[in-house]
């Protein structure tokens, strides 16, 4: 008779496996992806907050009256700083949301560990929400960090914080969906950085984040006023400062529609196994 094997002590309650519920697959993947972001503080949060602060300092120094001067051409009177701060928050958030989703997926494809996700019993909808909400979380977190830094130098009255949060989440979710598509579509780092540099960044930056759309030349004014990111930036700015060009309701409905249709389309791609191998 050999000794019975020693029984390992039971793990503490909060680490014990739970019975799989409807959300178990989603939750497991979401938490795992979030844990992969532990370096984001060094690579996304601090640099982005610093860059936003630098840009604000530059606007202050480059403008004759500083950021406390009036923004020329704005529909609602607003200072330069209060106009630009929500724009900086929104573009940072959108950029980070896109990059987080797209780069984590492509990284998994190139290093081959996407197999783990493909082999696990995960439904397409769990994977859609895990990746999409990962991008949304990271985007909103980094946007928040930028907002906290800028709140020290710019006076933002926050008339409607809920509206700002709504537009931030909708915008980050929509661009995360595009990030999932880009991460699946790309097979090389080069193709992804091309999408990021030549499509996403210009679209995000040229969306009325730094100047009122009415000041643009004739054909560009309409183009910029009707692109989805303009609604995001306008909605966030309206929520934080009360100065808004377009109707919040129209913006919210439009973004909601894009979010729903985008989720459906990207969900179909995930379920079909679109380009899962690099």
């Amino acid at each position: 008779m050999s000794e019975p094997l020693p029984v390992p002590p039971a793990p503490p309650l909060w680490r014990q496996p739970r019975a799989p519920g409807v959300f178990a697959g989603f939750w497991a993947l979401y938490i795992r992806e979030l844990r992969r972001q532990r370096r984001a503080v060094a690579f996304a949060l601090v640099p982005q907050a610093l860059t936003a602060a630098l840009l604000m300092a530059i606007f202050d120094l480059a403008s004759p009256e500083g950021i406390a001067g009036q923004m020329p051409g704005a529909d609602v009177p607003i200072t330069l700083g209060a106009f630009i701060a929500p724009g900086l928050i929104a573009i940072t958030m959108l950029n980070i949301a896109f990059q987080t989703t797209a780069f984590t997926i492509l990284h998994a494809k190139i290093d081959g560990f996407i197999d783990i996700e493909l082999m696990a019993p995960l439904s397409a909808i769990s994977r859609l929400f895990a990746h999409g909400l990962l991008g949304t979380t990271m985007g909103v977190l980094v946007g928040l960090a930028v907002g906290v830094v800028l709140a020290f130098v710019v006076d933002m009255p926050f008339p409607d914080p809920l509206q700002a949060v709504l537009f931030a989440v909708l915008g980050a979710w929509c661009i995360s969906l595009f990030g999932i598509f880009a991460g699946l579509w790309a097979r090389k780092w080069d193709s992804l950085s091309a999408i990021s540099t030549f499509i996403v960044t210009p679209l995000v930056f040229l969306s009325g984040a730094f100047a009122p759309v009415s000041g643009f030349e004739a054909p560009f004014a309409d183009l910029v006023a009707n692109q989805p990111f303009h609604f995001v930036i306008d909605g966030v700015r309206g929520g934080l400062t009360g100065a808004q060009d377009a109707s919040a309701l129209v913006g919210a409905l439009g973004m909601g529609a894009i979010a729903a249709v985008g989720a459906w389309a990207v969900g179909r791609l995930i379920r079909a196994g679109f380009n899962t191998v690099a």
Partner: protein, 279 residues
């Protein structure tokens, strides 16, 4: 001829002469050229990321600042805001890319281990310094040319003094190329390099007068600017375009030359002692 497959026969010393020692003279010209070509091909292979992307980023900066401030800021030193901004942005793109080229080459080489391909060949420390540095300068100058050509479509870019443009472009690219080299030698992880870029290079290039005339600064910061080589490189380069400088141009030339020589010596010394490169 006896069959060469007969491997059991004892080897004959005179049949296999030892490798001949090659002599290089004072300068290993071929080695230096090879290192330089390696550095240039490294960035040309991904020119979309190393040349095209900075051009797009610079244009975006130009668009943002002229849109946001073009109506408030009418003239700076007698030229339009666009004409004032363009040289600063071109210089910023040049030096950031010169820095990125050498620093990424060293850090990636160290992390992936292929730095041995550079440490093993018979290249003297000064040859390593020069080869790497010229690679970074080449990328900076190429990015500068392309950016300037594209930005000239949107802003009135006229050249006042070709000599100043050329001198400050070369001296500034060399300075940042060497800083990248030293930063790359010091870094052990991508985090270290990102910290140097985010906390030193980006703030210095952003805040040293790219976007505004230095007389906008409070007196204390003006005094700081006058000991900051980044300020002199942007100021001197801009003088070459618009004909106005905030500081004497000859002083900027001397400051950059001194900074370049000191950094060259530091980089050479680091290669010589093998700091964080050889164990």
């Amino acid at each position: 001829m006896p069959s060469s497959a007969d491997t059991t026969a004892p080897m004959q010393a005179e049949a296999m002469p030892g490798p001949r020692l090659r002599s290089y003279g004072a300068v290993n010209g071929r080695g230096l050229w090879t290192l330089y070509l390696k550095e240039v091909r490294r960035f040309l292979k991904v020119f979309q990321q190393t040349v095209a992307a900075p051009v797009v980023t610079t244009l975006l900066f130009f668009a943002i600042f002229t849109l946001a401030l073009g109506r408030t800021v009418e003239m700076v030193h007698g030229v339009s805001f666009g004409a004032f901004l363009a040289p600063g942005l071109v210089m910023m793109a040049m030096v950031q890319n010169a820095f990125a080229n050498t620093s990424s080459s060293l850090v990636i080489g160290k992390i992936q281990g292929n730095i041995v391909d550079v440490m093993m060949p018979p290249l003297a420390p000064w040859e390593l310094t020069v080869g790497f540095a010229l690679g970074g300068v080449s990328r900076g100058i190429l990015v500068g040319f392309v950016t300037a050509a594209v930005i000239a479509l949107f802003a009135p870019v006229a050249i006042h003094d070709w000599g100043a443009v050329a001198y400050f472009a070369l001296a500034a690219c060399l300075m940042l190329s060497l800083l990248g080299l030293i930063g790359g030698i010091w870094s052990e992880k991508f985090e270290h390099m990102a910290a140097v870029t985010n906390f030193i290079v980006t703030p210095l290039t952003f805040l040293s007068g790219t976007f505004y005339s230095i007389d906008r600064l409070p007196p204390f910061w003006q005094a700081i600017a006058h000991v900051n080589p980044f300020f002199y490189m942007i100021d001197g380069f801009r003088y070459g375009f618009i004909g106005h400088a905030d500081a004497p141009v000859w002083l900027g030339m001397i400051v950059l030359a001194v900074a370049d020589v000191l950094l060259l010596l530091l980089a050479w010394w680091l290669f010589r002692i093998g700091y964080k490169l050889k164990s």
